[in-house]
Amino acid sequence: MSRGASSDSRPRRGRGAGRVGEWLVVIFCFGALAFSPLVIKLFDRGTGATVLGVPLLYFYLFGAWALLIVAIMLVMEGRTERRGGPVEAPRQRPSGEAR
């Protein structure tokens, strides 16, 4: 009648939720860095530098922006997929034994 230990191997919701918050904070920090004047100045090359005909500055800014959104999307959508099945309610101990 003993319960196998393998039934609990699925990642817990609590842990996953915590990770989402942490990942998003990391993404925010990268975003704040990417959009900081210091970094933007690195890509400020005027009309000379272009990527596919688009000025490097514009390309960088919109590219970083899009990457940021993709990163958020990956974290959020990954989360909903991983969660999958219904969350298990905490198991009740059979009552009756007073100890």
Binding site: L24, I27, I40, G46, T50, G53, V54, W65, L68, I69
Partner: protein, 918 residues
């Protein structure tokens, strides 16, 4: 449609009306679906699109204008929200959860509720929001009106200054304002809903977001791929034009970070954003998708801003066309009436969406946080008599919507083309940002207090007026120009755009710096100095620990159960109407599994439940007052409700006291245990003593009795023997008397009943006499006695007889322990340090270290070592100690076990202490 000829005005108006009708239809459909229980907005896409109400006409037309003047800087307004949504899981999710649990209806309600349901704070936030946002609404009206005028002149471009001298523009704005008011009233204030969800409205807003995105992207695609050969071609051509080429490099980045910060704060603090993101959120999980969908929307709507700006610069090189109208002017110049019409509709939808949501949000705030609290306070009796207040609530909200739009329209008419409108977007952002510290800190810092929030917001608002609003008036010509250039009254340090000499920023960044500095600084410092009231603490905990608490009902048990279910029902009916009240009560009954028709008294949880539903209709602060009025009867003020809530703190206080008491009890128990042990010890000693004393008494008594019997039974005893026996009897009697006297003495000393006859006593004489009286004893046991008395020992004040007894006790004690024949006893007397020291030394076996203290205790006897029998009554030394201590001295023994012992006692020389004894 062909490329030539004018665009008939009926077509423009017809299309506009058709579009607005479509909007009404979508909203109506959304409401119908919601009523049928198949809500349209239960969908993360709709939710994300509704948040895109952030993009107003200011985005639709203004972004291109800003790009032409400032290059890339315009994206900061959209990067900020992107970053804020990256933090959405941390900040927005918490805001939404808090609002759901507490039935928050607006940002003013949120702030007021967080800081102890403060009317004052809610009112302040409302007033700031109305003042700060009103011009923004006029900006939308202006945008629609001027775009209408521009389109009307199709295909001529730039021939007319947008709204100049055309009465039609004003009329257009009025008509638009009226239509928007109608829409907002129809779908924003259809009924008083306890959930404050306007599903039809949200559906319409989401629809508008799609329309404006399609319109803008269509124009962008047409420009980029129709007029030019893709991005590369467009940028290459623009690079040839000096005016466009300068936009390829960053302008000074001074304002970059402040603007990102400002827009980050604005996207959660603008009343309309709070409305769609937080209040209208149907399910918390919708946020998960919106966190990336909304930033994606912002990215998409901004991709073509630069191409349109460059195309406009290339196409209209002579500055005849306002850059703000490029979106409309480019299709017109290219003879694309359909596209121009689409662009116009896009701008219209951007403006209407913003105005509708903003007016609904503001009207809710005005109603719940400004008008209702005032009515409840000033017209209390009147309100209490009204049977149905839901009509009044709706009336207030509808009037507020009309009022806001009317003021917006008048503002537009009054200021017209002036500067004030052009920069108003950022000015409004900065006003809304003043709520951010109270909002965000309030969610994470329990110590943030009501007075702190009030002071912070007030200071921020005043600085906002000074650094942004007044200068904008000056630029519009309402104030002298010198106000900006020279400062008020010529005080240069106070120039509103360079306060205290701070320069190097744009006016918005400058204002943001000072307002946030003043706001946060005041907020934090006042909060730290402040002491929160109970309700503040409760609310702070509810907000900060929203994820820890199981849900509503945490504070429910605090309320007294003194309200009946029918009373509560009547109250709810007055605000929610009969039907909704039924729903609310049924929902509660269903959820809790109780039958409310049998229940007579409402329990705390039902009261709480109804209060939260009411809060959805009239705001948290007002709902609390209303419910409290039912609970305790009429005329109950906020203060009394505070008292009810104060009970929590009382309970806390009791439990703290209880803890203290139990700690004290623990200590007392320990003390008691120690005392008990001591008592047991004493008891044991008493028993020992009693057995000793009885033993001591019995020995002489037995001998007296037996010798008396011999004398009695043997009358023929010879005289010598008879004499001997009688001597024994007398000696034993004396011993008995002595023992009894000792017991009596000790008892007297200990109970303080001893009569002391204090005189000046010469101690050396006392010692001489004592030795003399014991001389016989010493000689009998062949013990040598030495007397060492230094000269001139001063006399002391004491009872002479007691002193003699003391010395005799010590001497007899000493002789008792001296070995027979070789015993030596030395008695000394010396004076030092104001004390007389008497020592009695013997050469007996000495006293073990652990006995040195105990031997002075009464009944204690040294048994071991000598004969195994006690040598005396055990009272002698105890009596000694009693006498010495009474005379203010000290007695002790020094001994090395096996090498005799020396007893010392001191008596103070005649001094104050000695005198006091008598």
């Amino acid at each position: 449609m062909t490329g030539s000829g004018a665009l008939p005005i009926w077509l423009i108006i017809g299309t506009s009306l058709g579009y607005v009708s479509l909007l009404f239809a979508v909203a109506y459909w959304g409401d119908r679906r919601a009523a049928k229980g198949k809500p349209l907005v239960a969908n993360p896409w709709i939710y994300a699109l509704s948040i895109a109400v952030y993009c107003t006409a200011w985005t639709f037309y203004g972004s291109v204008g800003r790009a032409v003047s400032g290059g890339l800087e315009f994206v900061t307004i959209y990067l900020g929200p992107t970053l804020m949504f990256a933090l959405g899981w941390v900040i927005l999710r918490k805001m939404i959860r808090i609002s759901k649990v507490n039935r928050i209806t607006s940002i003013a309600d949120f702030v007021s509720s967080r800081y102890g349901k403060s009317h004052l704070l809610g009112g302040l936030v409302t007033i700031i929001a109305v003042i700060g946002i009103m011009p923004y609404i006029s900006l939308q009206l202006k945008a629609v009106a001027s775009s209408f005028v521009v389109l009307m002149h199709y295909p001529e471009i730039g021939a007319v200054e947008a709204t100049s001298a055309l009465p039609l523009a004003g009329d257009t704005a009025l008509w638009i304002a009226a239509l928007m008011a109608l829409f907002a009233i129809l779908f924003g204030t259809r009924h008083i809903d306890a959930t404050e969800h306007h599903q039809g409205l949200v559906a319409a807003i989401a629809f508008e977001s799609v329309v404006k995105l399609i319109a803008f992207v269509s124009v962008g695609l047409f420009v980029t791929f129709g007029l030019f050969d893709g991005f590369g071609d467009l940028f290459a051509q623009a690079a040839q034009l000096p005016e466009a080429a300068r936009l390829f490099t960053m302008a000074p980045l001074d304002d970059w970070a402040p603007l990102i910060l400002l827009s980050m704060l604005a996207v959660i603090c603008l009343p309309r954003q709070f409305q769609v993101t937080v209040v209208e959120n149907v399910e918390e999980r919708h946020l998960n998708k919106a966190l990336w969908l909304f930033p994606l929307y912002l990215l998409l709507i901004n991709i073509f801003v630069l191409p349109i700006a460059f195309a406009g610069l290339l196409r209209f090189p002579l500055h005849l066309v306002d850059a703000d109208t490029f979106v409309l002017a480019l299709p017109m110049a290219e003879r694309q009436p359909a596209l121009a019409l689409l662009a116009f509709i896009g701008g219209l939808s951007a403006a209407t969406g913003m105005v509708i949501v903003e007016t609904v949000a503001l009207s809710t705030m005005i109603c719940n946080d400004l008008v209702m609290p005032m009515l409840l306070r000033f017209a209390w009796l009147h309100l209490a008599e009204r049977r149905d207040l839901s009509g009044l609530l709706l009336g207030i909200r509808r009037s507020a919507i009309c009022f806001i739009l009317l003021i917006g329209y008048l503002y537009f008419q009054l200021i017209g083309e002036s500067y004030a409108l052009a920069s108003i977007g950022l000015v409004s952002f900065a006003a809304a940002a003043q709520f951010a510290p109270a909002l965000i800190l309030g969610m994470y810092w329990k110590g943030a207090s009501r007075r702190g929030a009030l002071a912070g917001i007030a200071v921020g608002f005043i600085l906002w007026i000074y650094t942004l609003l007044l200068p904008s008036f000056a630029r519009s010509g309402w104030l002298p120009d010198s106000f900006i250039t020279l400062g008020p009254f010529g005080i240069e340090l106070l120039r509103p755009y360079a306060l205290f000499g701070l320069t190097g920023f744009g006016s918005t960044s400058h204002a943001l710096f000072w307002t946030l500095l003043g706001n946060v600084g005041t907020f934090v410092v006042v909060s730290l100095l402040d002491r929160q009231s109970t309700i503040e603490r409760i609310q702070a905990t509810l907000f900060v620990e929203v994820f820890e608490h199981a849900g509503p009902g945490a504070a429910a048990t605090l309320l007294h159960h003194t309200v009946s279910v029918p009373e509560l029902r009547t109250l709810a009916e007055r605000f929610l109407g009969r039907e909704r009240t039924e729903e609310v009560f049924d929902e509660y009954a269903g959820r809790r599994g109780v039958d409310l028709s049998v229940e007579t008294l409402a329990d705390g949880e039902l009261v709480q439940f109804v209060e939260r539903r009411l809060a959805g209709a009239i705001g948290a602060a007002s709902a609390r007052v209303m419910v409290a009025s039912t609970i305790k009867g009429e005329g109950v003020g906020v203060d009394e409700i505070m008292q009810i809530l104060d009970e929590t703190s009382q309970v806390l206080e009791y439990s703290r006291q209880l803890e203290q008491k139990s700690r004290a009890l623990e200590k007392a128990t320990t003390d008691l245990k120690a005392a008990n042990e001591r008592l047991t010890e004493l008891d044991r000693m008493k028993d020992d003593f009693l057995s000793t004393v009885t033993h001591e008494l019995r020995t002489p008594l037995t001998s007296i009795r037996s010798f008396s019997e011999i004398l009695h039974d043997s009358p023929d005893l010879d005289m010598a023997e008879r004499q001997h026996f009688l001597t024994i009897i007398i000696r034993e009697s004396e011993r008995l008397t002595r023992l009894i006297n000792q017991v009596l003495d000790l008892t007297k000393i200990e109970t303080g009943r001893m009569k002391w006859q204090m005189t000046q006593v010469d101690l050396s004489e006392v010692i001489q006499q004592s030795v003399t009286s014991l001389r016989g004893l010493f000689e009998e046991r062949e013990i040598a006695v030495d007397i060492n008395i230094v000269d001139q020992v001063p006399s002391i004040r004491a009872d002479r007889d007691q002193l003699i007894q003391l010395v005799i006790n010590l001497l007899s004690n000493a002789q008792k322990f001296c070995p027979h024949g070789t015993g030596r006893v030395a008695i000394g007397l010396a004076a030092e340090n104001g004390l007389v020291v008497v020592s009695v030394a013997d050469n007996g076996p000495g006293i073990p270290a652990n006995e040195k203290e105990k031997i002075f205790e009464k009944f204690h006897q040294v048994r071991a070592g000598r004969t195994g029998n006690p040598m005396g009554s055990g009272l002698g030394l105890a009596i000694c100690r009693g006498i010495v201590e009474h005379l203010g001295g000290r007695i002790w023994v020094e001994s090395e076990f096996g090498n005799g012992a020396t007893f010392f006692f001191t008596v103070p020389l005649a001094g104050p202490g000695a005198r006091a004894v008598s």
